[in-house]
Each structure stands twice: as structure tokens, then as C-alpha cells.
Amino acid sequence: MTMQDGTDHGTDQTSVAEAPAPAPAEPRAVYFDGKTNRKRTVTLQFAGGVEILEDGRIVDIWPFGEVRRADGPPNLMRLSCVTALPLARLEIADEATKAAVAEHCAALDLARSGRGGTLRIVFWSLAATCSIIGLAVFGIPLIADRLAPLVPYSMEKRIGDAADVQIRAVLGDKDCKAAEGQAAFQALVDKVKDAGGIEGPLEAHMLKSPMVNALALPGGRVYFLSALLDKANNADEIAAILAHELGHVKHRDHMRGVIQTGGTSFLFGLLFGDVTGAGAVIFAGRTLLNQSYSREVEGDADTYAIETMQKLGRSAVPMGELLLRVTGKERKEMTIFASHPLTEARLERMKKADRPITGPALLTDKEWRALKKICE
């Protein structure tokens, strides 16, 4: 009981002592007038504003609403005033004076970015991100579609030449050109080219490579890799694959690809600013984006291949069979990310569009055997 009483009494005393707020008679501060670096010891009065007195004479009055906190060391309150000179400062060290300033100046922390400021930065950053991603997903493909047909052939050729150097570095630099095989290959290419209505020059190369693939480059270059040839069972398979690649050439898909890749990487670079910092993220994001876009493109190239083969009186189904032989059955989970449609789906499509064979064989048996031996 006694203890309790004592404690209560003590608390009472403290609050009584604090109530009248006996701030030191002379709130002291250091004043810089914003014109020179002279350090002036001043006293403050809180009347119509923060009145700054040096030797009892008022040198300046800062209205309460216009006093702001400036950045300063941990135990020092540094003040500026909106209407005073930009570099005029008051520095206050003692706690009572700091408290008095805080009490009088309501707008003290108006300019400081606290939690609200940070949230605003986060919000606008996310908004910028959304707009850039939106542009990359919807805007860039549209621009690429419109722009690609306008690119002059000479420019496209140049890009193709540049890519050629890199492609050969990756896939192998060795052209297969055994004379008879080359003749058969060229004959096949010419037939498909004529049927497909390709204008302008076209170069088709058979490259010695362990990779199972065929590809086209801007400027009418087509590469067929020997490993894919090894897997092929007849000339129709090769012809349909060639037709597919020529479809890319016809549709100028690679020019669109270049514009799109350039555009998206530029946009993502913009987003991340310092290019090196988030290079991997940019790359991964771009890959996903471009692959989902290119599935459409591959579908169109397949359509072109089907039509071309039908013009030749042949079928595109063997191409689907060759692809299935190469890739095996694929799992479905990867569809969102795969650059090509599923092989089975492609074969299905070709079978659906299939018509009876009416035209002559594209290569004679002799030519076919020569083609198979083109790399020897």
C-alpha cells in the first residue's frame, strides 16, 4: 500500500513539473544567414513566428508555417525557411528548443518524403513497368507488322549477312556440296521456290552439323542441316521443310523478329535503366515474349508449306512425320513457352488439310540417293 502511494505520488509530481513547460529562458541556436558562412549564435523567440535575435536585435523572422526541417546530423535539428534565402539555416541542439519548434511549426516535415513518399515511388514505378510491358506485348508486334514490309531488301540482306557469320560460327562452317547431291538439292529448292511464288534471290545451303534443324535468315537465306537430312526418309519430307522455311522468307518473319527483339530489348532496357544490372531478366523476359509470338508465325509458315506442297501436287504430311520422328512425343506443359507449336498438333493439322497426291515425285530415286550423300 505504502509503495503504491509513493509511486502515485511520484508520477503526480513529474506531470506537475512538466505541465508549465519551463523551456530555458533563452532558446539558443546557431544561425547561418544564407549569404556567408559566418556562424552566428542567436536566441529564438516564438511569437509571430520564429524570431531570430542576435544580441537582442531581431535579424529575421521565419513564419511558423514556412519553417521546414533540413537534413542534418543525428542530434541536431536543422531548419530552413521557404521564404528566407535558400541556404539560410538554423541549427538547434538542445531538446527543449527542438520541442518548442516542433510544437509551433506544423509544416515542419511537409517536404520530407516519409512512408507516403516511398509508396508513391513504388506506385509510379509499378505503373511505368505495366505500361512498358503492355507496350512490349501489344505495341511492338503491331509496329513490327507494319514496319517489316517497308524495310528495303538491301537492308534485309545486310542483316542476313551479319547473322550468317554468327550462324556459321555456331552450327559449323562446312558447306556440303558434293556435285550430284548439290544439283539434286538445288532442283528441289527451285521447285519449291517456283511453287511458292518467291520473288527475289534465294540462297539455300546444306551445312554439315550435328544439330537436327533447318532455318531461314533475313535476305532469303535458308540453311538445312545435315543431321536433319540423315533422319529424312524421302524427298517430300525435305521439300515440305524447305517450304516451311521459305514461308518465313515470304512472310519476312525475320525482319519482324529483328524489329521486335530490338524494340522489346530497348523497352526493357529503358525499364531497368542500367543495362548490365538486370541483363538476365531482360533476356529471359524477351525470350518468353518472343517465343509466344513466334508460335503464331510458325503456324503461318506451316500453312504456307501445306499450300505449296499441294500446288506441287504433293503432301505436307511427311514433314509432320519427320518432325515427330525427330522430337518424339512432347509433353503438354511446355506449350506456353515453346517457340513452335507441338509437333503432334502440327502433324494433325497437316493430315486434316491433306489431299490425294496428284503430282509427280519431286526427285528421282537416283537424285534422292545423291542428295543423301551430299556431305560425303
Binding site: 544564407g34 556567408t36 558562412n37
Partner: protein, 430 residues
């Protein structure tokens, strides 16, 4: 290690050239935990804002460092804002983007011609980088206020940029021998245009002084490089000999080959271990020399930082980086296996290739990469910025500060364009 290296290769430092009139010590109120929280929170916010927060983080870091440093009880105030840096960055983009497009088109030509046409572009970027650092320094100085008066900096960034380029070229040609004179010339240029209010700055340290303090490091660096080159060359010859001897080389030759490999490994490891020591020592020598050369009117500066003062910091950064690298590698392996498990029945060879093209792989690596980069930046922001600042600042003595009284405020604010350029070119700095 430090004791072994120091006595032989370095001459004693020159005594302070200034008469010790009125000396006041610069102080740094170390609040490292607070700073650490600041940069870690900043890194998190950078992650959330896809990097945009870096402007505000840089501002916060500078505010912290500036306000915790003081001379005669007065701490400078950093008055820059994150918004200024953001605007500077956007302006810089307007310059950088056309340059990058041009680079792309020229690169296309270069690859076609199979020529090294991209070399001049590297030079262009170097010039640009110099320009950016000059302008960035100007921005930071004009945002620094001490005792109610601002620092300022004039001069032309372009003028500086060609000087820096020529001096760099000269340094390269002389195998680094001209580096001290390069530093002195460039600092003289920068300080000539630097002022505190109406008190003009200048730089009085000479290239000769820096050379006298650091030539030992220069020599030992080249000796190490030459030694390593000799050992590697010898090893190559030995290995060629071993190869020429056929499938089963004679025993003595085999032993010779193994010895050569072991010696090469040891030597290259030694060089790699020695390099951070040498770099850290050079840095502290350079800091000390730089501080001793700064003048504002009658006010002079001196530093008593020892040569070994920064070595520990470099090794801490290396230690953290190694740790992060190990974690990243482990994570990469894990991700490959997770991605593999997502792939169906395909031949084993293709499986590995498909796994590294799998979206799971991209996502996993992407996330780890970003986190790794942010962690690395956090580490460098703590050790290479805060701790270096701490050690340098607390080694400084200021002389004749009393002569800098009644300095009149003048000069004007510079835009943050330089900072923006520096940011887009990844120039680090305070």
C-alpha cells in the same frame, strides 16, 4: 602478408608539407547499423520498383554520409533529391538511346565486314564516361552545403573529357608509369574549377609525390605479371613436349608436366591473392595523396591513413562475393535438376539441353541473378562506400579552417544530367 610486403617496396611517406598552424580533425559519427538498414531496405525497394528506387537510395546514402561527417562540429548538408536524379536519368536516356541505336547499326556493318569497327565506339563510350563523371561530380558538389554556403564547380566537361582521354592513352602507352601524373593533371583541372562559396579551390599535390609513394606497387605488379607470363609460357612448352611424346610419355617428362601445371596453378593463385592487397594499398596511397593536395584558399588538408587501412575491406567484399557465388552455383545446379524433372521422355543428351532452355530454368536463374546483384550492391555499398568513407574521413586533418571565415555564397546549381549519364553507363561512386 601485409608486413611482408610493406617494408621492402615502399618508401616512407613525405612529412606533411603544411606548417601545423591550427589543425582540426574531421570526424565521422559512425552509425553503421543505421546505414546498413538503409541500404538493405533500399535494395528491397529496388527489387519492388524494378530499380527505379536507386535514385532515392543514392540520395539517402549521401544524406547519411554527409550528415555524419563533421569538421569543428559542423556537418555538411546534402541538398540533392531523388527526383532530380530521376530527371537527370531521363535526360541522359535522350542522349544514350540514339547512341545505342547507332551502335547497333554500326555493329551490323562491322560484323558484315568482319572488321574491328566497333573499337572506336568503345573509345566513344570511354569519352562519354569521363564527361559523365565530371558532370556527376559537379552535381554532387553543388548539392553540398557547409555552414550555409554551397560548393560549386565550373569548367567544361568536354574539355575535361579529352584531357582525360589523352592522359589515359599516355598511361596505357607507358604501362601505367604516367598514371600518377595523369591523376595529378586531372585533379588540378577539377580543383581549379571547384570552389567553396567565393573561396577558390586548387590542387597542390604533384604526380611526382604520388609516384614516389607508389612506384614500388607498380614495380611489383609488373614483376608479378611478367613472372606469371614466363611460367605460363614455360608450361605451354612443357605440355607441347609431353604431347609430342605420344600417348604414354616417359616418366621423367610426365613428372615435369605435372610439376609445370602445379607451379602455374600456385603462381596464378598467388597473383590473384596479391592483387587485392596491391589494389587496396594503391587506393589508400592515392586517397592520402589526393587529400593532401586539396586547398580552398588558405585551408589545407592532410590525411594520416595507413597503407593497409583498406585491405581488410577489399577482402570482406571478396569473401561475401565468393559466398554469394557458391550459393548461386548451388542454386543453378538445383534449378537445372528441377527443370529436368519437367521434361518427358527424350534422349539424355537432349534432356540437358532442353533443361537449360526450360522456362523453369529461366525463371529460377533470373530470380537468383537479380537477388545476387542486389546483395552484391548492398555489400559494396556497405564496405566500399560507407566503410571507405569512414576510414578516409576520420583520417583527415584540416588546417587553417579559421581563414575560411566570411566566405560569400555564390555559384549556381548544376543539373543532374551527368549523374543520369553516369547512372546509365553504370558509373559507381559516392
Amino acid at each position: 602478408m601485409n608486413d611482408v610486403l610493406t617494408p621492402a617496396l615502399l618508401q616512407p611517406l613525405v612529412p606533411p608539407p603544411l606548417p601545423a598552424t591550427v589543425a582540426s580533425r574531421m570526424e565521422f559519427a559512425n552509425a553503421r547499423p543505421q546505414y546498413r538498414r538503409l541500404v538493405m531496405r533500399g535494395a528491397l525497394l529496388e527489387l519492388i520498383t524494378v530499380g527505379f528506387y536507386r535514385f532515392w537510395l543514392a540520395t539517402d546514402m549521401r544524406r547519411h554520409l554527409w550528415s555524419h561527417t563533421s569538421v569543428e562540429g559542423d556537418a555538411p548538408e546534402y541538398t540533392g533529391t531523388g527526383k532530380e536524379l530521376l530527371i537527370g536519368f531521363l535526360f541522359a536516356l535522350a542522349i544514350i538511346v540514339p547512341l545505342n541505336v547507332g551502335y547497333f547499326l554500326l555493329g551490323l556493318e562491322a560484323a558484315r565486314l568482319k572488321a574491328f569497327a566497333s573499337v572506336p565506339l568503345v573509345v566513344l563510350y570511354y569519352l562519354f564516361w569521363q564527361f559523365a563523371t565530371y558532370r556527376a561530380r559537379r552535381y554532387r558538389l553543388t548539392r553540398t552545403v557547409w555552414r550555409g554556403v554551397r560548393f560549386s564547380m565550373g569548367g567544361s566537361g568536354l574539355n575535361y573529357c579529352w584531357r582525360a582521354a589523352l592522359w589515359s592513352l599516355f598511361s596505357v602507352v607507358t604501362l601505367g608509369l604516367a598514371l600518377p601524373w595523369r591523376q595529378a593533371a586531372l585533379e588540378r583541372f577539377k580543383m581549379r574549377y571547384t570552389a567553396y562559396g567565393n573561396l577558390a579551390g586548387q590542387f597542390e599535390a604533384t604526380g611526382g609525390q604520388l609516384f614516389r609513394r607508389g612506384w614500388g606497387l607498380w614495380l611489383i605488379s609488373w614483376l608479378m605479371v611478367a613472372g606469371l607470363a614466363a611460367i605460363v609460357t614455360w608450361t605451354v612448352f612443357v605440355m607441347m613436349e609431353v604431347q609430342a611424346a605420344g600417348r604414354v610419355p616417359p616418366q621423367n617428362l610426365a613428372i615435369k608436366g605435372i610439376t609445370a601445371m602445379v607451379i602455374t596453378t600456385i603462381a596464378s593463385t598467388a597473383v590473384q591473392v596479391a592483387a587485392p592487397f596491391i589494389l587496396a594499398m594503391y587506393r589508400s596511397i592515392e586517397w592520402r595523396w589526393w587529400i593532401s593536395g586539396i586547398r580552398f584558399g588558405e585551408v589545407g588538408f592532410e590525411s594520416d591513413m595507413s597503407r593497409g587501412r583498406l585491405i581488410g575491406l577489399y577482402w570482406k567484399v571478396i569473401g561475401w562475393s565468393l559466398l554469394m557465388w557458391v550459393l548461386f552455383s548451388a542454386w543453378t545446379v538445383a534449378v537445372v535438376f528441377i527443370a529436368r524433372s519437367q521434361i518427358g521422355d527424350v534422349p539424355e543428351v537432349q534432356k540437358m539441353m532442353l533443361a537449360t532452355q526450360h522456362p523453369v530454368f529461366y525463371a529460377g536463374i533470373g530470380v537468383a541473378y537479380v537477388i545476387g546483384i542486389l546483395a552484391f550492391w548492398t555489400v559494396t555499398r556497405i564496405y566500399m562506400i560507407h566503410d571507405v568513407w569512414n576510414r578516409v574521413a576520420s583520417s583527415v586533418t584540416v588546417y587553417n579552417l579559421a581563414s575560411a571565415v566570411d566566405v560569400v555564397e555564390q555559384g549556381q546549381l548544376a543539373s543532374a544530367l551527368g549523374e543520369g549519364l553516369a547512372d546509365s553507363l553504370d558509373v559507381a561512386g559516392f
